[in-house]
């Protein structure tokens, strides 16, 4: 085999392998594209649009048909009325028309000027051209008729044929109707900066707390003792259990009236009255004459975050620590290093990489966290973070555009974090 044909052969193989790889990845790629990447772009699109929750139902032409007068004996005069209206309060309908099949057995004496009668294959139809309808526009079409054959015509028969409508409606989502009002609204709101501040407090303290607790737990669980594996399993419970269950357990546990913690504090004489842990914005604490405003609900939410996510840090730190070779500790022992020195100079450098990765990942995830705060406080009492604000704007105030604008702000922050993350993440971390 000559050199060229051999390399050609390899080229064919490589191409085939390439094609197969793309084929295997295609489903994943398509799904992620459809559910993650396109919505991400769509979110930018929506953030520049004046869309509310109500606009999701597209505008349509609503027709009500009614027959007036008596329809009993031949020669009875009656009217057929079509009432129409544009269902949208904001958007017009273009090129609207109505078509309805009419039964035989009556003669039309007067026709609305917008309408025509056509016959197709022996059946009569009426077509009325309504043209462009403004938002909320409504009107009436009237046909006068005289009955010929009572067997073929009745109110029920007339109603039985449903009028068909034709129109072109502008879909708000796809129209080119843009505004920057959403962003103006988001940034000008006085609470926005509070929300941002809350978000940052929550993220920084939540992440740091979870990491420190995880580190502490890992130090404890590194020692072998009877029942260790049971306790290790127990420590992972908060992370594994559904957020809905643990969040509501906390709510019940700290309930001001029927909660265990409040009752316990009252019993011990520590508190004078019930404390509404998740409902109280702040409490004044005076230390040496200085009055400090302590944010109660926010601290509780942060505490929950720490409680729920320390197991994750614990697990990773423990796994890393168990991979540290034991002989370096023996060597340190020989050299007279004390336990704290061993921790500070040996263990810590070994786990620094995983700590950094955990910090950045947890930082981003805590920043993105929605469920926990939403379930604990609903974003009240000074615990509204950016993510809760997205929900608030989009679904509670039903302004989808403003919600999307807040989501864009989140995304920008996220991008900054990610750049930092990629820049500084240690390469050996796993």
């Amino acid at each position: 085999m000559s050199r060229t044909s051999r390399s050609e052969f390899q080229g064919v193989l490589a191409r085939r392998e390439k094609r197969l790889a793309y084929l295997l990845l295609l489903p994943t790629f398509m799904l992620v594209l459809a559910i993650v990447l396109l919505p991400l772009v769509a979110n930018f699109w929506i953030s520049f649009k004046p869309v509310t929750l109500g606009d999701l139902r597209p505008p349509s032409l609503i027709i009500k048909e009614a027959a007036r007068g008596t329809i009993a004996a031949p020669g009875d005069a009656f009217k057929i009325e079509y009432r129409f209206r544009n269902s949208s309060m904001k958007y017009p309908l273009a090129e609207a028309s109505v078509r309805d099949t009419l039964p035989d057995g009556f003669t039309i004496t007067a026709l609305d000027p917008a309408c025509d009668i056509i016959s197709e294959a022996g059946a009569r139809s009426i077509i009325c051209t309504l043209g462009d309808l403004d938002a909320k526009a409504r009107g009436k079409l009237v046909i006068e008729a005289v009955l010929r054959d009572p067997l073929k015509v009745s109110k029920d028969i007339l109603k039985a044929s449903k009028p068909e409508t034709v129109f072109t409606a502008q879909n708000v989502m796809t129209s080119f109707d843009f505004t920057i009002e959403n962003f103006e609204k988001v940034f000008s709101a006085a609470e926005f900066w509070n929300v941002l501040k809350t978000s940052i407090y929550y993220t920084v303290f939540g992440t740091a707390g979870a990491l420190l607790f995880g580190l502490f737990a890992a130090q404890i669980m590194q020692k072998t003792f009877p029942g260790r594996s049971v306790i290790r399993g127990l420590l992972l419970f908060p992370y594994v259990a559904p957020v809905i269950a643990v969040a509501f357990s906390w709510v019940v546990l700290f309930d001001p009236f029927s909660g265990v913690v409040n009752a316990m504090l009252l019993q011990a004489g520590v508190a004078e009255g019930p404390i509404n842990f998740f409902g109280q914005r702040k409490v004044d604490i005076s230390v040496f004459g200085l009055t400090i405003e302590f944010p109660v609900a926010l601290s509780m939410v942060i505490l929950f975050e720490v409680w729920r996510y320390f197991p994750l840090s614990f697990l990773f730190i423990l796994a890393r620590m168990q991979s540290i070779p034991a002989d370096i500790y023996e060597a340190a022992e020989m050299d007279g290093a004390t336990p704290f020195q061993q921790f500070w100079f040996l263990s810590l450098p070994f786990i620094a990489g995983i700590l950094a990765v955990l910090f950045l990942l947890r930082f981003i995830w805590t920043f993105n966290k929605f469920d926990d705060i939403f379930l604990l406080t609903g974003g009240n009492a000074g615990t509204r973070t950016l993510t809760v604000n997205v929900y608030e704007q989009a679904f509670a105030i039903s302004n989808l555009g403003a919600g999307a604008a807040v989501a864009v702000v989140i995304f920008v922050f996220l991008l900054i974090f990610s750049i930092i993350f990629i820049r500084f993440s240690p390469k050996d971390a796993g």
Binding site: E17, K18, L20, A21, Y22, L24, L25, T28, L31, V32, I35, L38, P39, L40, A42, I46, M173, A217, I220, K223, I231, G233, L234, L235, L236, F237, V240, P242, V243, I244, A245, V246, F248, S249, V252, L253, S258, V260, M264, Q267, G269, W307, L312, A319, T338, P339, L358, L361, I364, T366, F367, K369, F370, L375, T387, F395, L400, A404, I410, S418
Partner: protein
């Protein structure tokens, strides 16, 4: 610092702490309104600590019995004969049990913490070891308590009735005289009146479907990234996890809008599309690591024997990586089972609610608290059961492959 001081400190801390913990346990399990008086216990512990400082180094059985007896006597004496309930709310056996437990736990903790330290001056090494032992014990106690208490309260509240919760929130004791049906009334009502069977089935259907779809998509994808050469491979394996950093809250508005307009928002099918999209990237990441560890010779041998690549995946790669696939499956199941945001946003129809969505609607002033907690137990039990059953798998899969927030 001298060993004597260390051991006195130890006694002071431990006996007071155990007294506190046992009093709280007694309050919660027996429903008696006991006072939290730590003074006598701290004092008794201090004396016992000094005793432990003198009596060393051997930890013989006699010394242990003497120590426990000493604490018991001191507790009894310092508190004027009523170490736990001055008001006399408990039965005699309960008081004796509490006293014995407090003394034994206190003494064993002291023994463990003081360890081999001597009564005289402690060198830095010994002092640090002592502090670490103290910290270790305290830390262990704290972690177990903070994790266990909310779950304990969750289970116990679900077995109570509304009146008894309001009369005495601290009484979480189980009244066995009520009988099984009265005790489990909240659960029975959830299943009969609140349609929890439907919720359970919906959750199970969505979770299992998510697992199946995720595996169907991610196994070939992960194999391609791990074993095949193609342009963009490096970039792909690096960026696949970036998807995971995108928060669901950003995606929820566009997905809500589009799914609403397509008329498929309020359906389990919508969840079965959205959930896999969020789990597949992690699954690919976790499986990729495992596939990459399989020797390529096996693939080559398979190719030589005339297998196609797809057959290699199903007949060689998959059977060999069953542990990894199992852990991914469990992990994805848990994510789908626990998911709240999309279920909350998408589902309007009570018949389609998943457990998460259904339990949120229990959080209202009209539904009694014990129903909410019973719902929480029902949602938690299956995942905790799965987790405990497959813990080894999961823990290694989690730490080897990836992380989740």
């Amino acid at each position: 610092m001298t060993g004597m001081f260390a051991s006195a400190l130890t006694g002071f801390v431990w006996v007071a702490l155990w007294h506190l913990v046992l009093t709280m346990t007694a309050i919660l399990t027996m429903g008696a309104a006991l006072p939290l008086a730590l003074g006598p216990a701290a004092l008794a512990g201090l004396v016992a600590g000094v005793f432990a400082g003198f009596q060393r180094p051997a930890s013989s059985r006699n010394r242990r019995i003497a120590g426990i007896a000493l604490i018991a006597c001191l507790l009894f004496g310092f508190s004027l004969g009523a170490p736990f309930d001055p008001a006399g709310l408990l039965d005699v056996w309960q008081r004796v049990l509490l006293l014995v437990l407090a003394s034994a736990a206190g003494w064993l903790s002291i023994e463990k913490t003081v360890g081999p330290a001597t009564a005289g001056y402690m060198a830095r090494y010994a002092a640090e070891e002592f502090y670490l032992r103290l910290l270790w014990g305290l830390g262990l106690m704290m972690f177990v308590l903070i994790v266990a208490v909310p779950f304990y309260v969750m289970v116990m509240t679900s077995l109570k009735s509304q009146q008894s919760l309001l009369i005495n929130p601290l009484d979480l004791s189980i009244d066995y005289s009520l009988g099984v049906t009265r005790l489990l009334r909240s659960y029975i009502e959830l299943f009969t009146d609140y349609g929890f069977m439907t919720l359970l089935i919906n959750s199970a259907v969505v979770s299992v479907a998510t697992v199946i779809i995720t595996l169907l998509f991610s196994v070939p994808g992960a194999y391609a990234v791990a074993k095949l050469r193609f342009p963009g491979r490096q970039w792909l394996s690096g960026s696949v996890l970036l998807i995971y950093l995108i928060p669901a809250i950003i995606l929820v508005i566009p997905l809500y809008a589009v799914f609403s307009q397509l008329g498929m928002r309020n359906s389990l099918f919508a969840l079965c599309i959205v959930y896999p999209a969020t789990t597949i990237p992690v699954a690919v990441y976790m499986l990729r690591g495992y596939f990459a560890g399989l020797p390529s010779d096996l693939d080559d041998a398979g190719l030589m024997d005339g297998l196609s690549r797809l057959q290699i995946i199903t007949r060689i790669a998959m059977p060999l990586s069953m542990p990894a696939i199992a852990s991914v499956a469990l992990y994805v199941f848990m994510i789908a089972w626990n998911e709240f945001l999309f279920a909350f946003m998408f589902l309007d129809d009570v018949k389609l609610f998943t457990l998460s969505r259904g339990i949120v609607s229990l959080n209202s002033s009209e539904v009694p608290r014990q129903h909410l907690m019973a719902g929480a137990v029902i949602a938690t039990a299956p995942v905790l059961f799965l987790f405990l059953w497959f813990e080894r798998f999961l823990v290694s899969g989690l730490t080897a492959g990836s992380v989740k927030g």
